[in-house]
């Protein structure tokens, strides 16, 4: 049925296009705010010149960096370059920002991926379990444990893990990525034993909060869904428990869970800063913190722009997943039937 296919795809396509168009002003605003803010948070010229300099040197540097131009011209140049993937030179390291970020991104993305995997693969089953067996002692234990995960600050968890596993037991490294392997421009820690070992503690540190959050969310949603008539009816039809719990019930908890997981994934990448600092993880977060210290405007602006692009992308994916999960949102479909 080619006609039906058309019906099914065109609204989806239109939806994606409109979402991308909506994202543009968002990203422009983020760029403007970050750029404007950083223009007033410090004087890169003073930091770069150090103690001894002549007025001529200072003038030359200001001209070099384009800081003598009016604000809007600077911003326009920044956007124009950004569209071409150019974010200028880092004031601090005198290297292209895009290179710096490309160097650091794999470390952060691999860490975020592992943290998200920890959070999902452990959090969802724990949430289902505590939802189904509300009164078992294991559920009570999980809930108590999740309170710890929610209330302890990330840096403290990181330091405690280092104390136990790196200092006392000496089984895992306390900092760095271990050995990495180059795959094109991407450097991965997945292919070496030290690389994998180095991922363990930071991933747990970064994922623990998300894990407890996801567990509590899945639990609350499961409790809600298990009370619904369609679950009672599924039981009344004599369906096996596995089908009722993991098919009918879990699938109906997915829409809110996807929303939160999407946002949290963005948060994991964007706010890996603390974890990266604790573990001296050579990722984008650490780069950002070091850039803030030195008022390295191009790096900071590029980083924030990248993060906003990330959030916009994740939101788009989340919306597309709604489509996949919930047929009631697929507006284009079924209209033709009577």
């Amino acid at each position: 049925m080619p006609a039906a296919l058309d019906l099914e795809f065109s609204p989806l396509f239109a939806f994606i296009i409109s979402r991308i168009l909506q994202a543009l002003p968002v990203m422009l605003t983020v760029a403007l705010i970050s750029f404007a803010m950083f223009a007033y948070v410090g004087d890169p010229v003073a930091i770069m010149l150090g103690q001894d300099f002549t007025e001529a040197q200072r003038q030359a540097l200001v001209q070099d960096l384009g800081l003598d131009q009016p604000f809007w011209v600077q911003f326009g140049t920044f956007i124009g370059n950004a569209i071409q993937g150019e974010f200028g030179l880092s004031y601090r390291l005198s290297r292209p920002v895009s290179d710096l970020i490309a160097e650091r991104a794999p470390a952060t993305l691999e860490l975020a991926f592992c943290a998200a995997a920890v959070a999902l693969l452990i959090g969802v089953p724990m949430g289902v379990y505590t939802g189904l067996y509300r009164h078992s002692w294991l559920s009570r234990f999980f809930l108590t444990f999740s309170l710890i995960g929610v209330s302890l600050p990330v840096f403290l968890i990181g330091i405690l893990l280092i104390l136990v596993f790196a200092v006392w037991l000496g089984v895992l490294p306390s900092f760095g990525r271990g050995d990495t392997v180059k795959l094109g421009w991407w450097s991965t820690g997945f292919l070496t034993w030290t690389g994998i070992k180095a991922l363990v503690l930071p991933s747990i540190t970064l994922g623990l909060f998300q894990l407890t959050l996801i567990m509590r969310l899945v639990r609350a949603e499961m409790l809600e869904v298990l009370r619904t008539d369609y679950i009672k009816f599924a039981r009344a039809r004599g369906l096996p428990n596995r089908a009722v719990h993991f098919g009918h019930a879990l699938k109906n908890t997915l829409v809110p869970v996807i929303t939160i997981v999407g946002l949290q994934l963005g948060a994991i990448i964007a706010f890996a800063i603390v974890t990266e600092t604790v573990f001296q993880w050579p990722g984008m977060g650490l780069l950002f913190i070091q850039s803030v210290n030195q008022a390295d405007i191009p790096v900071m602006a590029a980083y924030l722009l990248l993060i906003s692009a990330l959030f916009v992308t994740i939101n788009l994916i989340v919306d597309l997943l709604y489509y996949a999960v919930d047929p009631r949102l697929r507006l284009g479909r079924g209209q033709g039937a009577h």
């Binding site: 009344a236 428990n241 699938k251």
Partner: protein, 329 residues
């Protein structure tokens, strides 16, 4: 509808809800039978225990509710004390269920075809392809137009009445011998109600399925049921052939219930009404639970609780008929 080997037999069923303030007795000493192919109507006010009885039979009482005493037998075999997994195999396969609100009974994320097919493959030794074929057949049978096209539709693409037809197909598709229908028309438009009842009735007759039809609509009972049980405050007040209960009610509560239905063939100035409200489970009065509202109550009614006693063609739990000699009033 002879008494020999009833399909379903409920004996002295007692359902309790333990709460912090003590145990509430939701059903007390409920006994009745349903023969193969028979339709038993169960009527009463909200909270009388009609739905609770149905839930107890399909083994899905809401916790902390539990069967405290009595037994439920299907084909002479006790089913009230089965393990969850054994009872699960009976649900859907031997006892089907229909719920009140078709808008919330179907899982919104699965197509109706999938829900039908999974029910059949759970209980019947058939392949998924065969299940799909039968699913189309069932949709057709319950009166869904263009069933072959609608099989892959989601519940939200159907109207309320159509969804209740799907629910009926789901309840019947594994060919159970008993259907527990809990207010199957209450949530529907009046114009749709008659269609759904007619469909249920004809399918039950065609397949020889017995039915326990819970409703508070006397019209539905009069039209559909063979026998009727009137429930009040967790007990059966009167049970008997539908004609007798409707035309010559024995129990004062049934009399009141019938009196509150507007007759169509003559004008009445004012409908009879039963004063007061049904007592809460935590405050069921001593003696007959109906005594504070009963116009014919006498001393004994506030002291002892009456059991079901034969009274004319029906059985009624009323002291007025204790002496057997003074049948009918």
């Amino acid at each position: 509808m002879a008494a020999q080997n009833p399909l379903l037999e409920v004996r002295h069923l007692r359902v309790e809800f333990p709460t912090r303030r003590g145990t509430l007795v939701a059903l007390d000493d409920v006994s009745f039978t349903i023969s193969a192919g028979e339709v038993l109507g169960v009527v009463g006010e909200s909270g009388a225990g009609k739905s609770m009885t149905g839930a107890a039979i399909i083994g899905l009482l809401e916790p902390p509710g539990r069967i405290a005493a009595g037994e439920i037998l299907l084909d002479g075999r006790r089913i009230d004390n089965l393990r969850y997994e054994d009872m699960r195999r009976i649900r859907g396969k031997d006892i089907g269920a229909i719920f009140q609100d078709p808008l919330t009974t179907l899982n919104p994320l699965y197509t109706v075809g999938r829900q039908l097919a999974e029910t059949m493959t759970t209980h019947l030794p058939i392949t998924p392809a065969e299940a799909r074929k039968r699913a189309i057949g069932w949709l057709d049978l319950v009166g869904i137009p263009a069933a072959a096209q609608r099989i892959d539709s989601y519940p939200h693409e159907f109207s309320g009445g159509m969804r209740q037809r799907v629910v009926i197909a789901l309840a019947l598709c594994a060919e159970p011998r008993l259907i527990v229908a809990d207010e199957p028309t209450t949530a529907l438009d009046v114009s749709i109600q008659a269609q759904i009842i007619a469909l249920l009735k004809s399918l039950a007759r065609e397949k020889g399925t017995a039915m326990m039809l819970v409703t508070h609509d006397m019209g539905v009972i009069a039209e559909t049921a063979d026998r009727v049980a009137v429930m009040y405050a967790g007990r059966i007040a009167e049970i008997g052939p539908v004609r007798n209960v409707v035309k010559q009610a024995i129990h004062p509560y049934t009399v009141g219930l019938m009196g509150s239905i507007p007759p169509l063939d003559r004008r009445v100035e004012r409908l009879a009404q039963i004063d007061g409200a049904m007592p809460r489970l935590s405050a069921i009065p001593k003696g007959c639970a109906y005594n504070p509202r009963c116009p014919k109550a006498f001393a004994r009614c506030t002291e002892d609780r009456p059991d079901l006693l034969p009274a004319g063609a029906t059985q009624a739990a009323c002291w007025l008929y204790a002496g057997e000699g003074k049948t009918n009033g």
